[in-house]
Amino acid sequence: MVGSNRNRGIRRTVRYALAMILLLVMVYPYLYMVLNSFADWAHIDKQLLPTKYSLKSYEWLFTGGETGIPRPWLHAFLNSVMVSLASTVLMMIFGVMVAYALSKLNFFGRNAINNFVLFHMFFPAIILLIPTFLIIQRVGLYDSYLGLILPKAVSLWAIFMYTNFFKAVPTVFIEAARLDGASDLKIMYKIMLPMSKSITTVIFLFLLMERWTELLWDMIIVKSDRMLTLNVLISQMFGPYGSYPGPLYAASALLTLPIIIMFIIFGKKFQEGMQFSLK
């Protein structure tokens, strides 16, 4: 009995050790990025963990260094925040609306739309890239916030997730509310949303993350400096006129940290939501 207890203890320790090592390996690239962003320029990419540090990379980022032309990092950062938030919020609102109708309103054509959502979700979006660009250009939204937001204002995935989730909400609640004279909007707001808190966190974070890291569309649609998103700005820095790895790492840290912080804040809720939504 004692032996098996000790055995168990050892096994547990090994498990923790293994998990810790694996976790370190997975997180190391982030650590590497952050440390290199603070590293002395002569030490970048030369050591596993740089040994000499300076703030030069960040300084360069905001002053433009020798060239004297500061790149619009701050502005690009704000653009990324605004565009991602606006897109995500629209995707959430439309997701809830459409999903409510598809799951709780028995209307003519519902099944057809439901099937179409599935088809649309699995449709290879790449084929639509060029014509979508042309449409955006024809309606005069090239190089504008709306051009960045509107094509990403509806998420099939969000509709799909919410629809499946709402289906599980007992119809009794809704009928009771209707008898009390509640409107559909009120039902959505007062019953559906509060009941789907956990999944809402999951959907919100996933959508935000996806929009935040988008490159292809932003790259095509952005023309002027004032419209740059952070991701596009960073990919611009791999230019032919000499590269600055330090500032690139600094910019990458600026791109990555907000979403990580956000995630850690919502982390617990997110994980619960994941467990819940996957059941």
Partner: protein, 291 residues
């Protein structure tokens, strides 16, 4: 199905319907049209060329490579990410405490932008990086991004790094749903660890495994950022994905018509592949009696 429901149903779905009209059907029809023209996006005029774009695309070596590269990425990425995610899930699931802390830690790579992970990979793989200096001391000199196989492997690994935590999360919730009593009963019967994994855990895990596998296969059809930043589709088109090929043709070579034809071919290939993969996974599950 009364009048009120009809009205509200259509009203609430109207944002989506409008969206798919503008951003799905519109572009879809337009791209069919583009694919039979030789328009270059900037010239004032263009000609109708029939199926010439399709004929050229079917002959083009870079389109051939785009077709095969997708499956090569599948062979590399899907097993790696599945094994890693399963390992993480099983490992974390067995921890008595700090479970969610670990899960969140493993999930963090999923939050990285492809631009950033590519930059880090570039730094870690540069000729003077500590790893390469070490490997050269061992007598190994590898041109990571300049050799077709290792370039594929590197991109596959970056993707696996990104998705492992995400899939592990899905698998963990699958594990959580397995009834503890089943394990206890098995323990009484004297089942070994290995038997337990193959005979109990895996079958019960199959539904969530199915989800992650479908997701993972789906990923391989949409690879762009990592390839664009790291290899540009090279060396010798070894990492030239569909997205990369379409982007190059449309926005670097300015052949919008031709690129639309390639995109149409890409979507046909994607559709058929995903269909076959789904069927295959379902049959696999049924055969083993997991479904």
């Amino acid at each position: 199905m009364d009048h009120r429901n009809n009205k509200m149903g259509w009203l609430f779905t109207s944002p989506y319907l409008l969206y798919s009209l503008i951003f799905f059907f519109g572009p879809l029809i337009w791209s069919f049209f583009l694919s039979v023209t030789d328009w270059n996006l900037i010239a004032p005029t263009f000609n109708l060329v029939g199926i010439e774009n399709f004929a050229n695309a079917l002959k083009s070596p870079s389109v051939h490579s785009a077709f095969w590269v997708t499956y090569k990425f599948m062979i590399i990425f899907v097993p790696i990410v599945t094994v890693l995610a399963t390992a993480v899930a099983v490992l974390v699931h067995g921890l008595p405490r700090f479970k969610s802390l670990f899960l969140i830690g493993f999930f963090l790579p999923y939050l990285s932008s492809g631009v950033v992970s590519s930059l880090i990979a570039k730094g870690l793989l540069s000729y003077t990086s500590p790893m390469n200096v070490f490997l050269r001391k061992m007598g190994l000199d590898i041109d990571w991004l300049g050799t077709p196989l290792s370039a594929l492997g590197i991109v596959g690994l970056i993707l696996a790094w990104k998705f492992t935590g995400y899939y592990a999360l899905i698998l963990t919730s699958g594990l959580e749903s397995i009834d503890k009593e089943v394990y206890e009963a098995a323990a009484i019967d004297g089942v070994t660890d290995r038997q337990r994994f193959w005979r109990i855990t895996l079958p019960l895990l199959y539904p969530s495994l199915y989800t992650t596998l479908i997701l993972a296969f789906g990923v391989t059809f949409g690879i762009f950022t990592e390839v664009y930043q790291l290899t540009g589709g090279g060396p010798n088109n070894a990492t030239n994905t569909w997205q990369m090929e379409i982007f190059k043709q449309a926005f670097t070579n300015l052949q919008a018509g031709y690129a639309s034809a390639v995109a149409l071919l890409a979507s046909v290939a994607t559709f058929i592949s995903i269909f076959i993969i789904r069927k295959f996974l379902e049959i696999w599950g049924k055969r083993n009696g997991w479904v």
